[in-house]
């Protein structure tokens, strides 16, 4: 089990869209290392020919009829939006200058 460095924590935070301040990197590095060292224990188990289990019920592909029915109104949905305009969600700029 390799050490978890500040740089690795910063990279994980970037991937997870978390703007961690530099002051928190060391604390997380220490804690993540302890946790990852502990969960690495799964590697001790021989799992040749064992199928991974993603789900408890074994259900696959549940289908339903494609029938149109009433859904929530636009107003109800937009009421809890941080910002809206012209019956739409208003979001920050995604592309650079037009």
């Amino acid at each position: 089990m390799s050490r978890i460095t500040r740089e690795e924590v910063a990279n994980l935070a970037r991937l997870a869209r978390l703007e961690l301040p530099d002051s928190e990197l060391d604390e997380y590095a220490k804690q993540l290392e302890i946790i990852l060292e502990s969960v690495a224990k799964v590697g001790e188990v021989t799992t040749k020919d064992v199928k991974p289990m993603s789900h408890a019920t074994g259900l696959v592909n549940i289908f339903r009829k494609d029938i149109a029915k009433e859904s929530l109104s636009r107003d109800e949905i937009l009421r809890s939006a941080p910002a809206s305009e012209d019956d739409r969600f208003r979001v920050p700029r995604i592309l650079d200058e037009e």
Binding site: S38, A40, K41, V42, V50, L59, R79
Partner: protein, 500 residues
């Protein structure tokens, strides 16, 4: 009528049916107790006095008009703040959802409303159900009504505290790795995690979708079973919900007979590192079951030793994916000064809106799912999960149910484990194997530990969609101990005194 808040749901149901008390009176009695004493316990994030009384009035009208109502109509309940209720704030214990008012009811809430159950309010929880003490709530810590310096368990600690403090006879919790069973154990009440898929997850804000399951809390096994039957059942809105009839848990809870049942003690769950008072009560429970005519023997679940490692890879992986939806765009918090890019808004919003444990788990999950680590961590954990499930299913060829202590210790002191995530995770040691296998499990009180006089729980585990078996055992244990103690364990709880 003496104190309405001291009655069980079943007793209240009998009085309401007789007409000796109204749903409004029952609801008022519970709201009064909450309003005078919850400042001390802090179990509720939101109390809906007005809505609850309005629901109660409707139930009273229905009864007066001789309309058919369900057994639990007019009985109050506390709802964990992770299930949506239309028009009522749902925060999941997180700042990222502060002020969010869901526009729809979860299926569990729809079923509660259809049954005429009165929803008093939303209970505190560890943020996004991640934790075992409710201290990860972004709002405040809930106290254990047995000892206000101790944790009420988690993540459904607001619900367990509300029921043990007699604020409500019933509560709903959710259990991903033990979040109903461990809080029930440390507050001396009954709590059940149904079979995965037994209760619809529609409207349950997801933490780890392959593990999350809502379930009931109550002070008696019968009450727990009655609520279980109300909540359970197939729901087309949740593709993972099981299309089978609901196990007959109420009937099983009333049997009070374990004669001839084969019970397996999970050998790996106990011994070194487990609190002696917990093990003493557990051993007595084993003797009790034997004296009641059950055949009890030890059984090995070898891979249960890897459940902690497996769970703390799978659950964070699923969480890192599920919690990606909190991006500050469509609902909840948005941190934006008007000049930031979408990505900057997401980064700042998530940093500000999520607490430390949630961020830790998101990063663990991100790590386990990232290329280069996926095979060694996530995929390997999924394979070990198969082996744990296989071990448990094999054991059921030999025994009807499995038992263990619910948690290695009684309630610990507030603040004791907040800076030590691994110590916190150890509280889930016994509850994780059934969660990973998707099988039903519950906790029933079996006494107080000698050293701290705090409640200890017995975990009972049953095969998939055979939830009734665990209720049969729990009902028998409760009945025998009730005779021995001349009442329920919860009746030994110290009186709550309000803060001035």
């Amino acid at each position: 009528m003496s104190d309405l808040t001291k009655l069980s749901a079943n007793e209240l149901s009998a009085e309401l049916t007789k007409g000796s008390v109204s749903a409004v009176e029952v609801t008022k009695a519970h709201l009064d107790r909450i309003n005078s004493l919850d400042k001390t316990v802090q179990s509720f994030l939101h109390v809906d006095d007005e809505g609850a009384l309005k629901q109660a009035q409707l139930v009273d009208v229905s009864r007066k008009e001789k309309k058919k109502v369900s057994a639990l109509a007019g009985v109050p309940l506390a709802l964990k703040d992770v299930l949506t209720q239309k028009g009522i704030p749902t925060t999941c214990g997180s700042k990222i959802l502060e002020g969010w008012i869901p526009p729809y009811d979860s299926t569990v809430v729809t079923k509660l409303k259809n049954a005429g159950i009165i929803i008093l309010g939303k209970t505190n929880m560890d943020e996004f159900a991640m934790g075992s003490s409710t201290e990860n709530s972004a709002y405040f810590s809930t106290k254990n009504p047995w000892d206000l310096t101790k944790i009420p368990g988690g993540s459904s600690g607001g619900s367990s505290a509300a029921v043990s403090a007699f604020f409500a006879p019933l509560a709903i919790g959710t259990d991903t790795g033990g979040s109903i069973r461990q809080p029930a154990a440390v507050t001396g009440i009954v709590g059940a995690k149904p079979s995965y898929g037994g209760v619809s997850r529609f409207g349950l804000v997801a933490f780890a979708s392959s593990l999350d399951q809502a379930g009931p809390f109550a002070r008696t096994v019968l009450d727990c079973a009655m609520l279980h039957e109300v909540m359970a059942g197939h729901d087309p809105l949740d593709s993972t919900s099981i299309n089978q009839s609901v196990p007959e848990v109420v009937k099983a809870a009333q049997l009070k007979d374990v004669k001839g049942m084969k019970i397996g003690i999970i050998k790996e769950l106990g011994g070194q590192g487990w609190q002696s008072g917990v093990l003493n009560r557990f051993n007595e429970a084993v003797e009790l079951l034997t004296s009641l005519g059950a055949q009890v023997k030890e059984i090995s679940i070898p891979h249960s030793l890897y459940a902690l490692a497996t769970y703390y890879l799978i659950a964070p992986s699923e969480a890192s994916s599920n919690l990606a939806r909190f991006d500050g765009m469509r609902y909840g918090l948005r941190v934006d000064d008007g000049n930031l890019s979408a990505e900057e808004v997401m980064n700042k919003t998530r940093q500000k809106g999520f607490g430390k444990e949630v961020k830790r788990r998101i990063m663990i999950g991100t790590y386990a799912l990232s290329s280069g680590y996926y095979d060694a961590y996530y995929s390997q954990a999924q394979k070990v999960r198969s082996l744990i499930a296989q071990d448990l299913n094999n054991a059921f060829k030999d025994v009807d149910v499995l038992i263990s202590p619910t948690s290695p210790t009684t309630a610990w002191g507030l603040g004791e484990r907040v800076n030590d995530p691994m110590a916190m995770y150890l509280a889930d040691l016994a509850t994780l194997p059934p969660s990973l296998a998707g099988i039903p499990a519950m906790s029933v009180p079996i006494g107080l530990a000698n050293e701290d006089k705090l409640p200890v729980g017995l975990q009972i585990v049953a095969p998939f969609m055979n939830d009734e078996r665990m209720y049969r055992v729990a009902g028998a244990v409760e009945a025998a101990l009730k005779t021995k103690w001349n009442g329920l364990l919860i009746e030994q709880i110290p009186n709550l005194v309000g803060v001035k």
